[in-house]
Symmetry: C2
Subunit: 503 residues, 2 copies
């Protein structure tokens, strides 16, 4: 845009184009560097640090993690403390998950002592163990006493037996009692999940009684609650009152007149069932009852969200042949232990499929096209089977597939298999017949695809249905069976048909 100066002056006054380009890049870099430095220097107040750490999407900002690593490299404890202080417990836990073990060791001592109880339940299991191992029993006892009974039990159950004893000994008798009671319930049951702290009101009270009681006993109430449970004289819950409903109802109304129906959770119910009930009825909290129907605690939806994620994680990993013990902090060895077993099983089933191919060696020698094409039949079958399988496993875990619609579902899958099979067989048959100039080869592979996609539909639905009826987790073992079926049927039908039709 600017007018070009005279060439004579130009040589001195401004650098040539290339140099100008690189100088500009340098200047930009310097400006950027110092802007970044400024930006980091400006991270002084906790609010600034938190904003930087979380940015817009609330996922931990990698640049923030770099700040922590830099501070650790500099051994700058005060900076570490500031950086950690600004975060909420869930974010501190998240940060530790992103650090390598060495940096973690450096950072952990700087977690504010008063934040530790809230950080612990949020941590990945392996990291929690690292921290817990290094705490003195008396400190650990104090931490556990700060937590809700469900969180405390979760931390406690992962500890070594020896440490558990020491911690129990260091606890107040009352908290010790609570811990022992909580641990008496099996893992992954409602009893373990519940908080024992609830607000209950006898059925003959009115709204005013309930409000006065709560206002008089504020200190004894749970820190956070959503429902007041109405109980019968035998301590059985018969209804629930959302606190917000209490708030807007006249004092003289009897609780039993406005209470809402409850969905009781039996104390021994599996946590997966509990999650299903919460999800189905959109519950915020639910009373937990013992076998006699008496109120013993409550479960709130915030704990359920974690369970749902955990169960989903198990399903999705199991389908891929990964045991769910892997985390981002797992060592190579732990990951190997979680994945190698399934690869070994896969090796076994591959031997089976391979020995089927071995039966047709002379056919392959006569017509090498068979070797080229046979993996396609197996591959398409495997993918079809995985589709049907995944849909079935998910429907089973959402209780959308039961004996009530099993037959209809299987029949639909078979028709889907035929339809998809017809399309794929058509394409593949034409291509193979044309490329190898052998129409009967096309017919052979088309027939094999049709057979294999039918097998895939049947295996993909019947295998998970059967496992589920046998009370096994269909996500865990199904993929092995289904791929074995589609591999074997794929190779056998294609090579067998070839032996009959072509040779």
């Amino acid at each position: 845009m600017s007018q070009k100066p005279e060439p004579e002056l130009d040589t001195l006054a401004t650098p040539p184009d290339e140099l100008r380009g690189s100088l500009k890049a340098l200047a930009d870099a310097v400006a950027r560097e110092s802007a970044e430095a400024d930006e980091r220097l400006e991270l002084i107040t906790p609010e600034q640090i938190e904003d930087f750490a979380l940015q817009d999407d609330y996922a931990l900002n990698p640049e923030y993690i770099q700040l922590v690593i830099d501070a650790a490299d500099r051994n700058d404890g005060l900076r570490l403390r500031d950086l950690l202080d600004a975060l909420r417990p869930a974010d501190v836990a998240d940060l530790l998950g992103f650090l390598s073990e060495d940096y973690r060791e450096q950072v952990i001592p700087w977690i504010p002592a008063d934040a530790l109880p809230d950080v612990l339940p949020e941590l990945d299991d392996g990291i929690r163990e690292e921290i817990v191992e290094n705490l003195r029993p008396v400190d650990l006892a104090e931490v556990l006493q700060e937590l809700d009974s469900d969180d405390a039990a979760a931390v406690f159950e992962d500890m070594e037996a020896e440490q558990q004893q020491a911690v129990l000994a260091a606890m107040d008798p009352e908290d010790r009692e609570a811990m022992v009671t909580s641990l008496a319930f099996e893992e992954e049951t409602a009893g373990r999940l519940m908080q024992r702290e609830v607000v209950a009101a006898p059925d003959f009270w009115n709204v005013g009684d309930a409000i006065d009681h709560m206002r008089a006993h504020g200190a004894d109430l749970p820190e956070l609650f959503f429902d007041v449970y109405v109980i019968s004289p035998t301590h059985k819950p018969i209804g629930a009152l959302p606190v917000s409903l209490l708030m807007r109802t006249p004092r003289e109304v009897r609780l039993s007149a406005i209470m809402e129906p409850i969905t009781e959770i039996e104390v021994h119910l599996d946590q997966e069932e509990v999650a299903y009930i919460f999800e189905k009825y959109h519950l915020i909290s639910a009373p937990v009852v013992d076998q006699g129907g008496r109120l013993v605690g409550q479960i709130t939806v915030d704990d359920i969200v974690n369970i749902i994620q955990e169960e989903n994680r198990e399903d999705i990993l199991a389908l891929a042949g990964v045991s769910d013990e892997e985390g981002r902090d797992s060592t190579v060895f732990e990951v190997v232990r979680s994945r190698l077993p399934w690869l070994c099983v896969n090796l076994l089933t591959a031997f089976v499929a391979s020995s089927l191919i071995g039966m047709f060696q002379s056919e392959i020698e006569k017509l090498v096209a068979l070797a080229v094409l046979m993996p396609m039949v197996a591959s398409i079958g495997g993918n079809s089977g995985t589709q049907a399988l995944t849909v079935s496993v998910r429907a089973l875990s959402a209780r959308e597939l039961t004996t009530a619609n099993a037959l209809r579902t299987v029949w639909r899958e078979v028709r889907v298999g035929w339809f998809n099979g017809a399309v794929i067989a058509g394409i593949l048959g034409c291509v193979a017949g044309t490329v190898w100039q052998n129409p009967m080869l096309g017919v052979t592979i088309a027939l094999a695809v049709l057979i294999n996609l039918t097998a895939a539909a049947l295996a993909g639905t019947l295998v998970p249905l059967t496992l589920s009826r046998l009370d096994r987790d269909p996500a865990v073992a199904s993929p092995i069976f289904v791929t074995m079926v589609t591999d074997c049927i794929g190779f056998f039908s294609f090579l067998g048909l070839a032996a009959i039709i072509l040779l």
Copy 2:
């Protein structure tokens, strides 16, 4: 146990063993039948019906569904009404999902009119459309007015444009206004998810003011709420007060002195991000703000549970190459449409892998063992790749894998690949070498497995990481890439090495 009678008498008095057996079976069957009939006759009160329908695990009892089908077959409308009346809305919706289309048409008219608004949001999309299409605009308008703004918008947005116009015309001006505002936000954003009904209090109020206000304006308050938001004079939320905290705090305390920090949700935030924030901080409800930071609504955790399940469902199905539009009520054609595209892509990638094999036909003709063994190399690689891929996709969607630990994660996966590869290569190499009495064949396949498992580790992590950086959903396209890589590398490395080492 009873003493055996004399043989002479026996012939007449008691039947021979076989006959005795079948008579007993008959008697048992009759007894069972009549017990069942009794049991069904006893299903008279709504409580009895609900207990029978849900049993212990709250999944719909297939026998209950059979009762509904029987009643429909008998055209017994009164029985249908009783059976439906006893269920909660979520269970009615679940029941419709289990029925075939014909039975659904028979059952739908018997859903109690006052239950319909609550049933609609619970239904599978396809079934909801069936019902909504057949409602008169004026009835539909009434139903929508009953619903929370988020649920109403969800039902409304699935309707035909023509019906939407008719329904809007039939609504009260106020509700119409609310609906239009809600629909102004993009689908799957916080704005669409939120309820506009909130309870807010100015920051200069004290606890007593807030309680008095609520008790005086009970009728105007949202039906259910958990937090009172404290707002600044410019209507920006600055804190939250759980109702339970209000309940146990003395009247004279200022709200601003006890309010808890809030996590604001910006109105345009994607629902997946919203779910992540709720999950991370265990939120029960959160205020939604417009771009100016002003309070415009709230999101509660019960809606989030659905989002979480929806997102998980999308992930798990996408990994298997199923588009998420399938439901248990889908027709064969809908299922085909959701699955065939991926099978076609799979066919393309299989052609690529197959043409690689085609390059080595002369080698296969010379040594047919190659054809027998090559699918094993591809299969093990494919499974390893799927393991790494699934772990990466899940970690990405949980924000546990970011640029902060990407390099470390890839490096760990590669070492896992080497370790697993060494074990599998060892076994496979020994077996192949022994069975074919050709040690070099064993070496060849072992090397190929090692190479392919390294490729699987790299592809399984780098492909989803790259897609995620490009802002694409890594669950959707990754499996195609990864299996193509492991198939191609598997065949090419094994056959290529064989050409070099063995022939």
